[in-house]
């Protein structure tokens, strides 16, 4: 690989405190393989059990509004146009046109997530709204590009005003056991981000085992990621409850060890309020209520928002409104 990036170290964060474990390929491997294993049957059973929690009335209303505030409203299509992105930004600010005012106005979403070429448009539309502009970068979704291209991709998105970058890890290097290479790429992208927040997409659907999900989570956290994110949405399976549970355990364990708080973002496949609430229960009972905050938990989703809005209307009026009563984008 012809990279001109120098071997970078995270300037701060857990990678600083745990810098010993990333000083060499051998040290990092030893650390990652020394993490407790994940029993697949057990973690799936736990995630399923948490999915049986019954969230009703006031708890449901709280969860739905929280979930709306956690949505990274996403469009990542080859067919995206500036017009489409402008429409999405309007929706992000006023998800429910019927409930902008009143006693319980519908909150805006957390961020709009687009391709780098659409960042400038989104930034312009969302200026002053408090809604973040997230851009995928680093040759999303495959990540199969030389590092300098990934860096340039990132820098372009940041230069256009993205304040959150969703990068993909180098799964090829990870599966080949070149953990330090994965780590150093993330460190380099983090540097290119400047002050923008970095979400590290593990693409768990390609990692194969929960043990790998835990190891990749730690690489992402040690390298300075502000969030770890399950999926691009372009690979199946995308986010699943047990995968997200393993990642939540990782951020919880890091917080216990160093005090650093890292966010988690399941993305792809979460389409219903019921599913979103199951994730919030999992966050609540795994990491605690500190993580019930858009700064530390997000949903990467496109269709989820409308289901949340329909459930919100149902709670407010006692009736189910049809899909014609929420806007398409």
């Amino acid at each position: 690989m012809t990279t001109t990036v120098t071997r970078a170290r995270p300037a701060s964060g857990p990678g600083g405190e745990l810098s010993e474990v990333t000083r060499s390929d051998a040290a990092l491997r030893t650390f990652l393989h020394g993490l407790p294993g994940v029993d697949a049957v057990g973690v799936e059973a736990r995630a399923a059990m948490l999915g049986t929690r019954s969230i009703k009335t006031t708890a449901k209303a709280f969860a739905i509004d929280l979930a709306i505030r956690m949505v990274d409203l996403t469009t990542l299509e080859g067919a995206d146009t500036h017009g489409k992105v402008r429409a999405l930004c309007a929706k992000a600010q006023r998800p429910d046109a019927a409930s902008v005012t009143g006693d319980t106005p519908c909150p805006p979403v957390a961020a709009v997530c687009v391709y780098p070429s659409m960042v400038a448009t989104a930034v312009e539309e969302l200026r002053g709204s408090g809604i973040h502009v997230a851009s995928v970068a680093t040759a999303f979704p495959s990540g199969q590009a030389p590092l300098p291209v990934k860096i340039a991709d990132t820098e372009a998105a940041v230069a256009d005003g993205a304040d959150e970058i969703d990068m993909v890890i180098n799964r090829g290097a990870f599966l080949a056991g070149r953990y330090l290479e994965v780590f150093e790429e993330i460190v380099a992208v983090k540097q290119a981000c400047g002050s923008a927040h970095l979400k590290v997409i593990l693409e768990t659907g390609e990692l194969g085992t929960y043990d790998n999900v835990r190891r990749a989570s730690w690489i992402g956290m040690l390298a300075g990621g502000d969030f770890i994110k399950t999926s691009t949405g372009k690979v199946q399976p995308a986010a699943t409850p047990p995968v997200t549970l393993v990642m939540l355990e990782a951020v919880r364990d890091l917080a216990d060890a160093t005090g650093h708080l890292i966010g988690v973002k399941p993305a792809g496949g979460i389409r219903t309020s019921k599913d979103a609430i199951k994730y919030l229960v999992m966050v609540n009972e795994t990491c605690g209520e500190r993580w019930l905050d858009p700064d530390l938990f997000r949903f990467g989703a496109s269709t989820l928002l409308n289901d949340l809005l329909m459930q919100r209307q149902k709670l407010a009026t006692g009736r189910y409104a049809g899909p014609d009563y929420v806007t398409l984008d």
Binding site: G37, R46, T52
Partner: protein, 479 residues
């Protein structure tokens, strides 16, 4: 108040219809007890509300029930082809599935266990047991007990209060599949689901006398197991009562199976999947309020990870939701009876006096009913009573070990031998340790998992005989 405060989510009681009083189910009919009988009340342990008056069967009622079972055995059930018996068992299994929600609510009301467990564990397993043994009824010649194994006759069965309907299924399903008839006595604190099962037998048009349910306390149970018309005794309950039963039937022709107490070791090695081990520890001791004979009541943790594991366990325990058994979000329900609560309190008191350190998460217990906060004792040694005696409540004794050999030695250093758990990511270690543990069931990287195809039973003072699986047929076949 917590940020994400789960609103109450009670399961409706409207689905169950509890009568003010119940008779005995003998020869396919609910009948009033004879003159020598009394009545007692069954209560909801979560509220102390009286649920119903229950008949206490006396010796004459036991006579009637055994005679009905004998008649049904000799005239109908014992000579019925296996395929025909299977038809009835499949029918019962399907009715249980159809009435699952009702049975789950009834079980939670009478027993105090959380609806999540009665709904997701007890009742599905009850149906699965009947389906499983229905499948065996016409294949007994292939079970490995001879070409034409015969039924034994009339089985007298006495079951405990911790899994009322599930223990009934464990007893009745294999007995009926093999061609025996039964007289079953449920525990005095939890008779309602067995009486609902009597209605299910009628609904399934099971021939009269094949299943007889007589209610009562210890005296009724004693009269049943000592009755000369009983050919086979099956008991699940305390070691003390089991010992008395073994003595009383000694010298008679009766066959006996006993499933008694336990003090299972749950062994966590330093290479265990820690997060799942914590779940397994919680499930091992707090499932069903610890009212589980195979509960993982002794945690043996490798010293090198003990502090870390206990921190994780405490954090997890702080998330346990104790309260209304009918709330769908409840993890730990009510202790089944005042007597059991007194026993748990007494042994916990002893644990503290003997120098072990108790810890419970902050949790508010309801003012009425019988409640005990989930508790762990650290600093426990093998010499402590709480490491040796069955508490049968949500109380975990934590011990440490240094080497695999020490773990095995401590795990086996008990008069019991019902179950054990091993937690390690190393497959060869699972096999090596399981081979050395003197316990009827050894779970690897899980705990308290049940399946009708898997035999269950104990070593030493945990009893003899096996229930479940092909092995479970043996207790009900003459061969």
């Amino acid at each position: 108040m917590p940020l994400f405060d789960y609103a109450p989510a009670p399961e409706s009681r409207a689905i169950v219809d509890i009568r003010a009083s119940y008779g005995l189910f003998i020869n396919g009919e609910f009948v009033e007890p004879g003159g020598d009988a009394g009545r007692f009340k069954t209560i909801n342990p979560a509220s102390e509300e009286v649920l119903a008056e229950i008949a206490e069967a006396g010796p004459s009622d036991v006579d009637r029930a055994v005679a009905a079972a004998r008649h049904a055995y000799e005239t109908v059930w014992g000579r019925m082809p296996g395929a025909a018996r299977a038809k009835y068992l499949f029918r019962i299994a399907r009715i249980i599935q159809e009435r699952a929600r009702e049975l789950a609510v009834l079980e939670s009301i009478d027993n105090g266990k959380p609806i999540r467990e009665s709904r997701d564990v007890d009742i599905p397993l009850v149906a699965a047991h009947f389906f499983y043994y229905a499948g065996w009824a016409d294949k007994l010649g292939h079970a490995g007990f001879g070409e034409k194994p015969r039924p034994i006759g009339v089985a007298g069965q006495v079951i405990p209060w911790n899994f009322p309907l599930l223990m009934l299924a464990w007893k009745i399903a294999p007995a009926l599949a093999c061609g025996n008839t039964v007289v079953l006595k449920p525990a005095e604190t939890t008779p309602l689901s067995a009486l609902a099962f009597a209605e299910i037998c009628r609904q399934a048009e099971l021939p009269p006398g094949v299943v007889n349910i007589i209610t009562g306390a210890g005296g009724t149970g004693k009269a049943l197991v000592e009755h000369p018309g009983v050919d086979k005794v099956a008991f699940t309950g305390s070691t003390e009562v089991g010992r008395a039963i073994a003595k009383s039937v000694a010298g008679s022709a009766k066959r006996v199976t006993l499933e008694l107490g336990g003090k299972a070791a749950n062994i966590v090695f330093d290479d265990a999947p820690i997060d799942q081990a914590v779940e397994g520890i919680v499930n091992g001791i707090f499932f069903n309020q610890g009212h589980v004979c195979c509960a993982g009541s002794r945690l043996l943790v490798q010293e090198s990870i003990a502090d870390h594991l206990l921190d994780s366990l405490k954090r997890r325990m702080a998330r346990l939701r104790v309260g209304d058994p009918l709330d769908k979000n409840t993890d730990i329900g009510a202790i089944n009876s005042a007597a059991q609560l007194a026993r748990i309190r007494e042994l916990s008191q002893v644990g503290a006096e003997e120098g072990a350190e108790a810890w419970s998460p902050p949790c508010e217990l309801p003012s009425r009913g019988f409640w005990f906060a989930p508790t762990i004792f650290t600093g426990v040694s093998q010499a402590h009573r709480i490491a040796r005696e069955e508490i049968f409540g949500p109380v975990l004794s934590v011990l440490t070990f240094r080497t695999p050999a020490e773990a095995v030695e401590k795990a086996n250093n008990t008069p019991y031998g019902l179950s054990a758990g091993v937690w390690t990511e190393k497959g060869s270690r699972i096999l090596a340790i399981a081979d050395k543990l003197r316990a009827g069931v050894v779970w690897a990287n899980t705990f308290n998992k049940f399946d009708p195809a898997s035999p269950f039973g104990g070593y030493k003072e945990s009893g003899y005989g096996r229930e479940g699986g092909r092995h479970g047929l043996e207790a009900y076949l003459a061969h």
